[in-house]
Symmetry: C2
Subunit: 502 residues, 2 copies
């Protein structure tokens, strides 16, 4: 077989696996958005078959042989072909060094752990989840052994979500975040200017809220001809192709900000998915290099743009039109202050920009200790509560509001949490680089015009796909490796002014 023939054959098999995964994504979207309740049982079987078929094709011995042949002939490929080949070879290696029997054992344990976690959280009883968490920790260590690592088994797990990042790097970054964020929070808690939230306490018509979100999504450049927005209990973004990227949002009549920021957050993810190079369609290159990089896009739009004063200078008049009489006496400054209120809280997903990373650091410290064997599962609740007191000065009333609040561990997704914090850091670094490249960017935002912002992100981030790791993209685009200073400077500047800190 010639190099060209081998590459085309490999590409065709990959396209098949892509199509099967895209089909599974449609079934999952439907499950969250459309499916009638009784459809769930059969849907689980449909998804299991799709997943098995995709895995079977992807890990087929024929793929290995084609990769082996092409390894010696990569010079004959174009640059784009070589990038795709490298990604295929990387993912094939990762997938095939895990034995089939382990995959099945993991899936079974995961399902049991998930159901145990649901029940444990409901009853706020960690003991129900404990044996399952032990099992998931052991499986994670086993997986790390299959993948291999140098310094810490956690590095092997982290690579699944944030390739190119290490525990050692994270420890340095997170130490700096913890110190400066805790100092900032303490100053904010004692600040004279606490925001006025009284105007928020009125009902906000749901249809008008949805119209508002659609208006903003359109403005930031989300293409509704290549996507749609629906409602879901837990908002998410999914894509079946670059031309079919769907977002979901959650609307609550009592919450003025909830649907809006949910939509902007998912819209940020969606712009990424709609922004891949069309020539990468259906290949492994049309994907983010890491979850942190994906999260950087949602956070950049949600927080650095959506929670800024220029944003509200433009959108408060829009909101006034949609909610007649309800916002007449409110100023952009008041909305800006209200949407940036800082309150240390128990629950990660409800936390603000200033406290969020501390929730992540807590989880990172427990996870690394568990995976490296320095912490027993039995001691997780006590360790959680102690860190909650140290980092956020909060007392945890029960495990449901403590170590049982997140779904991730029941899935065995150790190494996932840090990507949320990295998303914040990347977003701030990218925002600084973008501000340097587009000096009048804030004026564009204040006009509700986002072509330059979106264009810059598309050219520098979206189009790259998985051609580089996230740390490499950040370094190339911003001139600095992933680091906490940009985010900390952003937070300190914003909140010093907002809360009148001296």
């Amino acid at each position: 077989m010639t190099t060209g023939e081998a590459f085309n054959k490999l590409k065709a098999i990959m396209e098949d696996t892509h199509n099967l995964r895209a089909a599974a994504a449609v079934l999952q979207w439907d499950m969250e958005v459309c499916m009638p309740p009784k459809g769930a049982e059969a849907r689980g079987r449909h998804l299991a078959t799709l997943s098995a078929c995709a895995h079977e094709r992807f890990t087929d011995a024929a793929v290995g042989k084609l990769i082996d042949q092409l390894h010696g002939q990569a010079d004959a490929l174009t640059e784009d072909e070589r990038a795709l080949f490298n990604e295929i070879a990387y993912q094939y290696e990762r997938a095939t060094c895990i034995p089939e029997a382990f995959v099945r054992r993991h899936a079974k344990a995961q399902s049991a752990a998930y159901h145990a976690w649901l029940e444990a959280r409901k009853q706020s009883d960690f003991s129900l989840f404990k044996p399952h968490l032990e099992c998931m920790v052991n499986l994670a260590r086993e997986k790390a052994d299959y993948w291999g690592y140098e310094a810490s088994p956690y590095d092997a797990l982290l690579e699944e979500y944030e390739r190119g990042m290490t525990v050692a790097q994270l420890r340095v970054i997170f130490d700096s975040l913890a110190t400066r964020q805790r100092t900032l929070i303490a100053r904010i808690m004692n600040a004279p200017n606490q925001p006025d939230l009284s105007w928020l306490e009125q009902p906000w018509n749901k249809d008008q809220q949805l119209q508002f979100t659609e208006h903003v999504l359109r403005d930031i450049g989300y293409d509704f001809a290549a996507g749609r927005q629906d409602q879901a209990a837990h908002p998410f973004t999914t894509s079946f192709s670059i031309q079919d990227v769907r977002v979901t949002t959650r609307v609550d009549e009592r919450m003025f900000f909830s649907a809006l920021y949910s939509s902007i957050h998912e819209g940020g993810h969606a712009l990424y998915e709609q922004g891949y190079s069309q020539t990468d369609e259906g290949t492994l290159l049309a994907d983010a290099p890491s979850l942190g990089m994906h999260e950087s896009q949602s956070r950049l739009w949600e927080n650095l743009i959506g929670r800024s004063l220029p944003f509200w200078r433009h959108y408060l008049p829009v909101a006034r039109g949609l909610f007649p009489g309800q916002l007449d006496t409110v100023t952009p400054e008041q909305v800006y202050a209200a949407t940036n209120r800082v309150t240390p809280s128990l629950i990660r997903v409800e936390s603000d920009e200033c406290t969020y990373n501390l929730h992540i650091i807590l989880r990172f410290e427990l996870e690394t200790a568990l995976i490296e064997g320095a912490l027993d599962v039995a001691d997780v609740p006590a360790a959680w509560n102690e860190k909650m007191a140290t980092l956020l000065d909060i007392e945890v009333p029960d495990d449901a509001h403590g170590c049982l609040q997140d779904i991730h561990w029941s899935h065995g997704a150790f190494g996932y949490f840090p990507t949320y914090a990295l998303g914040n850091l990347y977003a701030a670094q990218l925002f600084d680089a973008m501000t340097a490249a587009i000096p009048d960017m804030q004026e564009h935002v204040a006009c509700g015009t986002f072509d330059t912002v979106r264009g810059w992100l598309r050219d520098n981030i979206h189009c790259v796909g998985r051609r580089k790791t996230a740390p490499d993209i950040i370094t190339d685009v911003t001139g600095a490796a992933p680091q906490p200073d940009a985010y900390l400077n952003y937070l300190e500047t914003k909140y010093t002014s907002l809360y009148g800190l001296s």
Copy 2:
């Protein structure tokens, strides 16, 4: 391998193919109901992969070997297992006697023919479609040769849609239908009592129309916890499992009846799909034995129940509540008359109960002549127009309103049309048997109570699945083979009274 092992292995492969087909059905539903326009291109590729994977698994040589082993050991299976085995063996035989190369050639020709037909219909220019129709006719003959037949190649094609029915039987049935329906239509055209349609000419709020359809769907027993109704340009029913059966409808503000009867029609299909035996879930037995049998369920609910006077005695008051002030002076008799107006027309899908079968007979006669070689494709427009004059006394102004009106031939679906007429005949035969079994059925309908009707259909038709052919089910349940008299008697009785025929 023991018989039990072989059967379980065969069943597992069949479940996989079922799951892949169910996934494809979800993607198709999404394509019609939800998908943004730009998503179409990639969706085509996703569906092609699913279809190829399902076909590959279904026709795998391993399946053939298991079938060969089990053929000699069928006695060791339970009755239900044997029924399933027979259905698998039958469908495997049908699928594998068609060569792969032919399947690909057919798919390619079909796609070209479909696009040519769209353009030909748009321009009303048969010459654009002619070479493609020739190609599809030749492919259909080739397919008939692969499948094999005794009397007519059309029999082999018919078997795909209406197993157990033959051209010879259809000729006898259709001759009788043509004669008596034409006589009845002539009498109706000269009748003194033409219905009053003036009250229909007012706008009918779309949301209220949808509420009306949901009300009726609920009443007839459609389970919304195992399904949902959406809007679609061309209404259809689809199912992914017995517990997820979805209907679609079309709403037009100017048409009082359109959404309602579309919903009842699809609801009839859906009750069938929701009514299969739960133990057959995910197997080839959870399906109708033929398209005619499926259509009998939609027609029975739509026409024999939905277009009856007892139905409107109950639902006119319901409609009055939904459309305040719009129906106050209208009587159940007026609605009944309006929904049963007879008008010979050019277009099959717009035709009424009295003229519909004549449209089918026209197509059946042309199709059999084409497949048996008695008619040249070039002569189709002239033959169409001539038969339109003979059967319906209508002059065809152009081919767009004549032989180019239907999509079916562009798909190569010769043998499909007769199932529509058979659906009408089966419905009438079943309705008579049901009336004999439930003497007070009409009173139940007049109360909007359909448990007995649905229960009878479930026990006698739905639960059977594909354990028997449609003609066998009809014969067993009604005591007579498929025949036209029940339908003709129903039509003659209904219209003699409605139009005051002497």
